[in-house]
Symmetry: C2
Subunit: 243 residues, 2 copies
Amino acid sequence: MRFTSEQRLDDGVIERQFFLGEIPGVLWTPGSPSGPVPLVLLGHPGGLHRMYPRLVSRARGCAASGFASATIELPGSGDRPPVSTIQRARADLRRTLSAGETVDPELIDRLILPLVERAVPEWRATIDALLAHAEVGGPIGYSGGVISIGIRLAIIEPRIVAAGLFAGSFVPRTMLDEARRVTIPLHVLLQWDDEGNDRQMALDLFDAFGSNEKTLHANLGGHTGVPKFAGDDVARFFARHLK
Amino acid sequence: MRFTSEQRLDDGVIERQFFLGEIPGVLWTPGSPSGPVPLVLLGHPGGLHRMYPRLVSRARGCAASGFASATIELPGSGDRPPVSTIQRARADLRRTLSAGETVDPELIDRLILPLVERAVPEWRATIDALLAHAEVGGPIGYSGGVISIGIRLAIIEPRIVAAGLFAGSFVPRTMLDEARRVTIPLHVLLQWDDEGNDRQMALDLFDAFGSNEKTLHANLGGHTGVPKFAGDDVARFFARHLK
């Protein structure tokens, strides 16, 4: 992990850009940490530059709770080299959506499954590298989308103890079986009128999760319309489970 | 409204038993109110004595937010004279449930609609009487079940500005149409495995509500298993809308 820049934001949060091999990422830590602090991994749909304003806002929220947070670029997104299978599936999805046609489950599999296969080991390597950093400890939470990445990580990465998942992306059918194997506490955010999301699939996933503590927060509005109070609820969920 | 008793609880909250005509009720006010305070109406499934522990706990929460709260006995419940139509429908429901049979929508209509017809004017008369009390002001919220009573009140009682509804009771089909006419901010609590509740109906209701701000909080567990943090979320909802 090579840090390439460090700056202090106006609220004291320290933001460090890094590369893990060829993967760009960002680490945010509270301005005055008292030893190693818990870590929240910030999931997103890909495109770090485009997502930066929303990511830094979530990172400030984590820091206010006393947590570090970090994110990495998704495979095939932003400045990373394209992944041909994912690129083809994305183009097909765009065509399908702009033609107003129903999205074939097979297309969702082609888009999401290779993303999960590639992104999950990268997130795990990022955890290894971040835990070597003096200011970062545990426990670790995963927050956001792509929900299928969060589900797979929740199953296979024992260092992740809680997940706040955003039901805002297409979900392969096989994820229902994976959801049954999730046992960590979950907080699922669903935008009721999300244009890029199958509401029934989100409800089925919530039903399938094997966790003893799982909460669904559904709010009116589209994909980017998460109300501020719903974000505050996510922060309180992590405060309960990472402290 | 005749007050029949007054006591100060250990946390300073003042609890007053009252009768409105023949209807027994309870008013809770913060220990040291600074003039008239907002009011939360505490809905419940009937049976004030049986429900008292949970009601007083909710009332203490309201007082902690600086709000008064009040409840009245439902028609045909507790110490009130039985209502033959409701009594018959309740007996039929018990028989149906203990036989493990599906509950006929017509039976739900017979049980809930007369309850709504009778309870709603009683709640409105209670609001009139409570607002004459020096410590009680506005705005007013409705909190809890029976959800159909909360829906009808939300439509016809303009003094109610926000409702935290508990999706924990059977709902007549016609309530879907009434739900579309609700426009006040809503916070809907759903216990995912509620034995006495149709989950799909709760989701359909949530979808139907006409409000611009509506939030669904679903948690794992049965009817009485609402987690403490979910109760705290309801308190925050009212704090946002009654202050």
